[in-house]
Symmetry: C2
Subunit: 492 residues, 2 copies
């Protein structure tokens, strides 16, 4: 792990963003919990995500579905047969390794596309040994990454923890279509947990066995979707993109959305542009740290026809890291469930029966949280977490300058008047400089201080995190003034 | 199931609040999904719950923890050994039954307090047979209700899905204490899923195998907690309460909080009052449908010293049904984890080492959603779901009176100006009366209609759901006027 990793993890542990689960029992590999600040940041990130992506169309809707799914549904989706990684065991110490990781570590290149035979060939050719004990490695096998369990007292009802939230949307597709507007395109969003029994979880929060996804499944008529979108509104957006051939070199091209149309379908480029705008315009991620990276045929999951990841350049993880994906899943999923369940998944569109195709916008929530802690954490003269205001766990720090002569009383009044509408933190311990520093480190955009002048003028000093600029704002109408500031407007 | 059950379930299925999971594969007993309206209502209920209960103290915090927990942690908590129900199998058809349900169905009285021997005695005495095939029942056994699974590729790391969110708070107790204010009392809230392998799930959403809890664990110094609360502020609250001896008769007493102090600890009564105020004052549940019901020693879970349920009189379930609980868990949990992990769980309070006690406020989110669909659904001359405004899935319906002559354009403008700040639904299909009726049925508190006068006067008609009263409100400043209405204030 890099020095930067230690720096970010130290912040995370010390202030309670995200930390290894069950540490009092010596930890639990691949599992992480959110402390208070992380949980607040995550909920705000989710709210922002929901507002933005459900806001893209009045037919994009939120639903919520179970984490346990029965065998039949995951057999039909293909996960029982194909959702595997390649497992290589050591004949000496018995430790399990991921085959592609062994080969990638030896060659410096991704080996995700290789099958068991190819992995075995590479291991022999490169003379790869167990990284732990140097023992001989056994032939590789396919390992299903789902967690199986049985439901009911007899143990005969086989089920799995869902490996992706997406299946919940496909299983509800028809019923939601009927109870909502009965029109295409329409979308179902789910924010929730998914579970994968990773062979060797590593890189901290980056590859976890239990993780949180925010996914939007868009069901559409492939014959008409392109014409149903306002492509003009995004045609000029310069997409930062790396194609399969050159992405390993870190090369990123800037191509106008309109100019991508020869290579990629219109509906696909339109949603790429919308995703990019979420990161660059709303979340203010530095442009040079953002890119789409193409996955080739062998790297893609078996159900994706087109797959670009959104990657962020994350120093603590040593470079570009996948946080989201945009996946064209065709009619693979609905067709599978139609065959598995014998229920028709076609819908009536203007008198015609259509089996919709699916475009999936998939977001790794934990990876987003980690990426933000990395990208926005500055440790120079000042230590500041320059989080977007909307996702900062605490929005307002509220302090009396000193703990005497009526200042705490007035500061409390201010706190009580704001606490229902904003995430507030009241603090009177330590010097005012220390209190500012503690708020800077967790990304609090504004601190409000009550000083002796406040008692007469009935106002507070509002200090802005990034510039440290201060201005006095009247307590009368304070909530409205703060709302304006949070929208980057001048307070009234 | 009652006629009322069918009525509420019909609403729920038709409009997409909550419905059986995986129905295209013939269903999945004990599992339910949230459709769009249910998911919106649930998220709003959770937001309201968080605002209210975290607002009770500036030291009550939100965290989020994993659903999978390792064996050791649940062994230490007592769940591996004691989290059981009594299982009775039929020797004929092989069906599994819950022993206490068999006895309760035969006697009409709760049998939750009985052990395996007592259940066997009752079954023999009452000559109870398999409800399905009338076959002979086998001797009862204890059945652990947790879902076991194994983590990692070797299958040796045993784990469980968490049976309650609470353990996540206990496992994080010490670390959060250190990273937050290092003071007692302090509280950790978790909103998330819990999993119980119910022997025979029944009563729809009332007893599910995967369900959602909102729980607040309050850690306190038992020597001082009573004095740290502002009991005066709730002393006059008349608590609706049924004690163990009389609750089966449906008797509910109204007792002032102050007068309960002889029978129950002060800190316990204080939080009962706060929970009651949430239901009666904020959510406006009819007073006569709300009560606290005491659980006796044998009915309580093994880790509860004091246990009252919050029950709502739910017609569709045939009477009083538990939706929440308030549990005094003493130092059972922290003591268990201290012994299991060899990590000290005591904290320093003014120079003294204290092992905190725990008061748990536990809420069944799915049960709350169902109870609200039942309690607030009126089907008389008009069909109206009189939901509290804050939890209505859609806040504003926005319609043009007719779909021509500029009305849709203006209605769209109104919709676009409000959609980021409120949950809005735009509709122009069908007569205006039908559109109002569709919104009434899902509990939308206000409908905004653009008519011909609106074009000149730049205003809309705002129709209130419960009274059907209409008033004209200017489009200029509309968002602020609506915010006032939603707080039951006059619009400016």
């Amino acid at each position: 792990m890099t020095r930067r990793y230690d720096e970010v993890m130290s912040l995370s542990l010390r202030r309670g963003f995200i930390w290894p689960s069950v540490d009092i029992y010596g930890g639990f590999a691949g599992f992480y919990d959110y402390g208070h600040l992380g949980a607040m940041m995550k909920r705000k990130w989710e709210d922002l995500w929901l507002r933005y992506f459900l806001g893209l169309s009045e037919r994009y809707y939120l639903i919520d579905t179970t984490n346990i799914l029965p065998y039949k549904s995951l057999k039909a989706s293909g996960h029982v047969d194909h959702f595997t990684d390649i497992l290589v065991k050591c004949s000496g110490c018995g430790l399990s390794h991921r085959g592609d990781h062994l080969v990638a570590d030896a060659t410096g290149k991704s080996a995700e596309a290789l099958g068991t035979q190819e992995i075995d060939t590479e291991i022999e050719k490169l003379n790869i040994r167990c990284p732990k004990c140097k023992g001989t490695l056994m032939p590789s096998t396919e390992f299903n990454m789902m967690f199986p369990l049985s439901v009911g007292p007899t143990g005969t009802d086989q089920a799995f923890l869902r490996p992706e939230t997406a299946q919940g949307a496909y299983l509800n597709f028809k019923r939601e279509f009927e109870s909502l507007r009965r029109k295409l395109p329409y979308g179902l969003a789910i924010v929730g947990r998914a579970f994968r029994n990773e062979i060797s979880p590593r890189q901290g929060t980056y590859r976890m066995r239990e993780f949180i996804q925010a996914e939007l499944q868009i069901f559409f008529n492939p014959g008409t979707f392109d014409d149903e979108l306002d492509f003009e509104s995004v045609a000029d957006e310069v997409i930062r993109i790396s194609f399969e051939e050159t992405k390993e070199d870190g090369e990123v091209e800037g191509i106008e959305a309109g100019d991508l149309l020869g290579r990629l379908p219109k509906f696909y480029v339109y949603h790429m542009a919308k995703m990019q705008q979420f990161y660059l315009d709303i979340l203010k991620v530095p442009r040079e740290r953002f890119r789409f990276a193409e996955l080739g045929e062998k790297e893609r999951a078996f159900y994706h026809k087109l797959h670009f990841d959104i990657e962020i350049n994350i120093d603590s993880l040593g470079g570009w890291g996948e946080i989201n994906g945009i996946h064209y899943r065709t009619d693979h999923d609905l067709k599978g469930h139609q065959a598995g369940s014998n229920e028709k998944m076609t819908v009536n569109v203007g008198g015609e029966r259509v089996l919709p195709h699916v475009l999936e916008l998939s977001f790794g929530v934990d990876r987003n949280i980690w990426a933000f802690l990395d990208v926005f954490y500055e440790k120079d003269d000042r230590t500041v977490l320059r989080l977007p205001k909307e996702v900062a766990p605490i929005t307002l720090g509220i302090f009396p300058l000193v703990s005497k002569e009526g200042l705490p009383e007035l500061a409390r009044e201010v706190y009580d008047s704001l606490k229902h509408d904003f995430s507030c933190f009241y603090d009177e311990s330590g010097s005012i400089g220390k209190r500012y520093a503690r708020m800077d480190e967790i990304g609090t955009p504004y601190c409000l201080t009550v000083d002796f002048d406040s008692l007469k003028a009935k106002d507070v000093t509002v200090r802005e995190r990034d510039s440290t600029d201060q201005k006095r704002i009247s307590i009368d109408g304070l909530a409205d003034s703060l709302r304006a500031l949070l929208k980057d407007e001048e307070p009234a």
